[in-house]
């Protein structure tokens, strides 16, 4: 049933159900725009991987597989905690909700920490495209295309993670202030959708960037 007089109901809606469906629909549509936004980068990646397979494989070898794999596990776990957080919101368990949101944030920070470590490693190994770039002469030019893509794609992903952490912080605050109830938990639900999307992007980035031609040693 619906709560016409609820404080959480915005004036343009008839009831909380309509508001919830609208919020969810809006976020799904936004995620579609994000698919196409990242999609352009995946297009650039696929064209150049097709053109320069050896250079891409050689470059991919230089990435830290353990870091990529660890980060994949971290993000998948954070999706679990996020899904559990939404469930906690739905069932009105405020303390569990806050705890799970915090857990999600901690995992997100862990991801960024590993990423920062990787970036630092790549900097020290002269794999940042530009004047200081160093690579075997055979693939010198095309490896820079790989690394440019690597930094842009993981960088854009990291920006989305950081925004996600900001959103989670707001969710924690809202939950702590008691603004989230089992009748009104839209913000948690749509934040969850966003968070899972960021996880999905990484699910594709991981094999495409880290695991090219790994069978060659």
């Amino acid at each position: 049933m619906s709560s016409h007089g609820s404080r959480a109901l915005a004036h343009q809606f008839e009831d909380l159900d309509q508001q919830r469906e609208v919020a969810s629909l809006g976020m799904w549509l936004f995620l579609v725009t994000e698919v196409l936004f990242f999609g352009g980068l995946f297009l650039v990646y696929s064209i150049y991987r097709g053109w320069y397979p050896e250079a891409f494989a050689a470059s991919s070898h230089e990435l830290l597989v353990w870091a990529g794999t660890l980060n994949t596990v971290v993000l998948i776990t954070s999706s679990l905690t996020m899904a559990l957080a939404v469930h906690a919101a739905q069932t009105g368990h405020r303390r569990a909700l806050i705890g799970l949101l915090l857990a999600t944030m901690i995992l997100g920070c862990a991801f960024l920490g590993v990423k920062a470590f990787e970036y630092r490693t790549e900097y020290l190994e002269h794999h940042i495209p530009g004047a200081a770039f160093q690579f075997e002469p055979e693939h010198f030019l095309h490896a820079q295309i790989f690394f440019s893509l690597y930094f842009i794609m993981t960088g854009l992903h990291a920006v989305h993670m950081i925004i996600g952490l900001g959103v989670m912080a707001v969710m924690v605050w809202m939950s702590w202030r008691g603004l989230i109830t089992s009748e009104y938990y839209n913000p948690i639900e749509v934040s969850g959708l966003y968070w899972h999307f960021v996880d999905i992007v990484w699910i594709f980035l991981f094999p495409l960037l880290y695991l090219i031609g790994r069978h060659v040693h």
């Binding site: 619906s2 549509l29 999609g39 297009l43 794999t69 994949t72 999706s79 899972h196 069978h215």
Partner: protein, 97 residues
């Protein structure tokens, strides 16, 4: 307009999440390990297939697509379709040059 019943969730509803989580971890392990075998062009196919499977699990279970209105599924599918159009028609140029 009726609520699609969140209140009908029993605590066992979270069990699904743990199962999906385990499957996702297994898939990640597989992706990582398969990369070390030489399957030629199949390496990429397998990697993307596993990624697609993981995505489907996340969308269907974690993102509640399984209990979402049909419109949501249409939207999600539409986004993927449009990405496919971008990739396919562009690749069509590159592959036929």
């Amino acid at each position: 307009m009726s609520t699609d019943a969140p209140r009908a969730h029993a605590p066992s509803a979270t069990r699904v999440y743990y199962v999906v989580f385990a499957v996702l971890l297994v898939c990640t392990y597989l992706t990582w390990q398969v990369a070390y075998f030489d399957l030629g062009r199949l390496n990429t196919v397998v990697a993307l297939t596993i990624a697609g499977l993981k995505t489907t699990l996340v969308v269907w279970f974690f993102m509640h697509a399984r209990s979402s209105p049909r419109l949501t599924l249409v939207i999600a599918f539409g986004g993927l379709l449009w990405l496919a159009i971008l990739l396919a028609l562009t690749a069509g140029d590159y592959l036929t040059r």
